[in-house]
């Protein structure tokens, strides 16, 4: 694999601040050996669909160690949803981000290997994407916060270990689409992705969110491999649902806003 941090290591040797490495080359051209190394990785090709029943079950079996204050807030949200008044945590169509994509998505994902990188692609909330760098680089000293954070990974046998930081504090730790709270900052997620069976992928997650969790939350999610055409990943532009097809004043095809209510097209 690419160990692209030559400048990084050089600066360490010189005793310079690590941040200096941010100005050096970090993406070096892959060599034939880097492509050949991919063939030795486990086969994670195909499309992966989540076990939704297990997602729901784990809310009970792997209870989230919320802080007492947040636990009361979560209980109130659960009561509101049960009463038929769900919070629309994601109806603004911003990405679910980390860790909620992995926790609650009902849609398929795919996993691509390339030299020094593992890439997760998904559907439904805006062509969701995670870049996991496996070339030996570290996290930036001060990553710009993002919905999916900065992820680095390494292989322990056939298990991909992923470390994610730099997630926006507004990004939600969700139990479902109506129950969850923002992580409030300093989120750290460690995942161990591995095949439990030839066509069953497991993501063992350890979620550290010191402002809303009183302890690391350990839970797992299960995905099933599919290879039929109907499981190909669909483009998923969430905001598209807020528009219908129309024609503009010049006669061109255009998007026309549709009134929304609670994330639905508003009944007339």
């Amino acid at each position: 694999m690419r160990f692209a941090c030559l400048a990084f290591m050089a600066c360490l040797a010189l005793g310079r601040p690590v941040a200096w490495a941010a100005t050096g080359t970090i993406d070096t051209p892959p060599k034939a050996a880097d492509w050949a190394a991919i063939a030795k990785l486990p086969d994670w090709s195909g499309t992966w669909t989540p076990n939704i029943t297990d997602q729901d079950r784990r809310i009970e079996t792997d209870p989230t160690p919320w802080t007492p204050t947040v636990a009361r807030q979560v209980a109130a949200m659960q009561a509101e949803e049960k009463a038929g008044h769900p919070r629309g945590l994601f109806v603004n169509c911003l990405p679910q981000g980390m860790p909620s994509w992995m926790l609650i998505s009902h849609n398929a994902l795919e996993i691509l290997f390339s030299p020094g990188r593992v890439t997760l692609l998904g559907e439904s909330d805006g062509n969701r994407l995670r870049r996991i760098y496996t070339d030996g680089r570290g996290h930036p000293a001060d990553p710009d916060p993002s919905f999916h954070g900065h992820s680095i990974g390494h292989w322990e046998g056939d298990t991909l270990v992923v470390d994610t930081v730099g997630v926006l504090p507004q990004t939600i730790i969700a139990l479902d689409e109506a129950v969850g709270v923002p992580n409030d900052g300093d989120l750290h997620v460690i995942e161990r992705l591995h095949l439990a069976k030839p066509d069953i992928l497991v993501d063992d997650l350890q979620i550290m969110a010191p402002h809303v969790l009183r302890a690391p939350w350990k839970t797992s999610r299960i995905y099933y491999r599919q290879r039929a055409r109907k499981y190909e990943i669909e483009e998923g532009v969430c905001l598209q649902g807020s528009f219908s097809n129309g024609t503009d004043r010049e006669g061109h095809a255009s998007f026309v806003p549709v009134p929304q209510m609670d994330g639905n097209s508003k009944p007339q």
């Binding site: 398929a108 559907e123 439904s124 909330d125 109506a178 069953i200 499981y231 994330g263 097209s265 508003k266």
Partner: protein
């Protein structure tokens, strides 16, 4: 509400894509019988609009019916052409709890062909599906 049948059914999982479906009452079933106005095949939720006639002969009422995502519907056999404007349909929905003319999709029958479409995909929780 004419053109409609109201009943109670067992729980049907709605499988939402980006929001909870708790605003719909899954314990109830309203059957909307009418003509398709539009079928919007987009993320995050496919939407079906159906005009249902009223018993008193007034203007047909427009019902707005939410389904899951195109990807998930594709996996249970739908295409963007499964329903087209003008189709006569009978649609079972979990009605909005607030009484507005809308609901979460349960089942659709195309009147002309008798073809039945559902969106249940929880029985797909296994690998290697065709």
């Amino acid at each position: 509400m004419a053109g409609l049948l109201v009943g109670i059914s067992s729980y049907v999982s709605p499988c939402p894509a980006h929001h909870s479906f708790a605003m719909f009452d899954p314990a109830k079933t309203v059957t909307v019988i009418g003509t398709v106005k539009d079928f919007q095949w987009v993320n995050p939720h496919v939407v079906l609009w159906v005009y249902a006639p009223t018993k008193d002969g007034g203007a047909p009422e427009l019902w707005t019916i939410e389904l899951t995502s195109p990807g998930n519907l594709t996996r249970v056999g739908w295409t963007r052409h499964s329903v087209t404007p003008g189709d006569k349909v009978s649609v079972d929905i979990a009605p909005l709890r607030n009484g507005a003319h809308g609901g979460g999709f349960k089942k659709l029958t195309l009147t002309e062909s008798g073809k039945v479409l559902t969106s249940e995909f929880k029985d797909q929780e296994r690998p290697g599906l065709q």
